[in-house]
Symmetry: C2
Subunit: 238 residues, 2 copies
């Protein structure tokens, strides 16, 4: 039986084996929701980088550059970290370099896995269907917030575990915790995460529209996958 | 308003500020349940040490030594990690050196806090009453399992957060996660944690009696506290 585990923050990633696994990186507010939206709206490639300097260097080479730190756009960059910014027709076919506080670090730390996917509520069903289809064990890597756990990423992890639990062995207590959180919250996720630290942070920045959008399920049928350090839309789905 | 946070594993402790706080270390299966039981049954002092070597050195100096690794008694030591082993009248007034896989490491990593207490379901009410009374912010430090989260420690953390949430600000998403887990599980904790990794591990070793005992609430009115690296029973309670 295939196994599914949840790594609740990249700070604990060294405790998990990545080899042979499909890793799904999740940063609901908002990096992986943005990436999903970007590919659904025609962006060709996304280069995730952990540091602002790397992102700036790629910008100087002519790429569109998106950078977020502490939930705000970092100065001097082209795009922020709102999914609505990625619905722009001018981005169709483009390559974007992206760095965010938590999400891109989670991606760059996961490269030893057999395959790294980008997950969000927006493409949850596509992710789940693919994981059902593939023979690999699965590890959901939550981006968290500066090394700590956050509720919305655990909620997504729990949603995936819930969808897969009949066909996968749920060994890990983090996965069981995520499942319990999702089952408590699933009928009204917005209400349940209203008190989460990051929702309060985003509320303070007037980003309630982003929050609501990032919690919508199964909006896009895209599967972003890391290939040689660059995210592209997987072509083999369906 | 006082704040309460939860550190879900000692592996994340560097992300939390300890100064000024009361830390409650919890390792439900079974270190902190054993310590609570030991003090309730007359043990005078417990010296928690992180390494087997340190524990062996204290044994050579004439102390009673308890050592657990991977849920079993380590070879050559006097006591294992079952609460029933600490109900022995021969231990009254004695000093015991203890090392366990997770619990004692969580204690030794927490020494920068203003005060370090030992919590378990067995002395939960005593812990909660004391935290209500004191002016300090609180951090529950879950011992986890080899760096990873475990369900039973999160369950206890959630139980404490639940008891304090009207008088404390619950800022941290780990604390909210713990609270959600506890609220889902509180009416039948044994059933809810039956699938947890550590319960499966203990079941495999025939330790079901320990599991049931460690989930009993408010059995002992003792408050173990760390003083100069040594655990003693706090004298000022009630």
């Amino acid at each position: 039986m295939k196994k599914i585990d949840v790594c609740p923050t990249p700070e604990l990633l060294h405790l998990y084996r990545l080899t042979g696994k499909i890793v799904v990186v999740v940063d609901i507010f908002r990096a992986t929701s943005c990436m999903t939206t970007a590919f659904a709206h025609g962006v060709a490639k996304i280069i995730p980088v952990a540091q602002l300097d790397e992102c700036r260097a790629l910008q100087k080479q002519g790429l569109i550059a998106a950078a977020e730190r502490d939930a705000r756009k970092a100065e001097g960059f082209d795009l922020d970290n709102s999914p609505f910014s990625y619905m722009n027709p001018e981005l169709i076919g483009q390559t974007i370099a992206v760095t965010t506080t938590n999400g891109t670090l989670a991606i760059t730390k996961s490269i030893e896995a057999d395959q790294v996917l980008i997950g969000s509520f927006l493409n949850k069903k596509t992710i789940v269907d693919y994981l059902h289809f593939m023979p690999n064990d699965v590890l959901i890597v939550c981006a968290g917030w500066k090394g700590k756990i956050n509720l919305e990423d655990m909620l997504f992890a729990g949603a995936v575990v819930c969808s897969l639990k009949n066909d996968f062995f749920v060994e890990d207590d983090s996965a069981l915790s995520a499942l319990m959180i999702y089952e408590a919250a699933k009928f009204n996720m917005i209400k349940f995460i209203a008190n989460s630290s990051h929702v309060r942070r985003l509320h303070g920045l007037g980003l309630i529209r982003d929050i609501e959008f990032c919690l919508r399920e199964d909006v896009y049928d895209v599967l972003p996958v890391l290939e040689n350090g660059i995210l592209v839309k997987m072509k083999t789905v369906k």
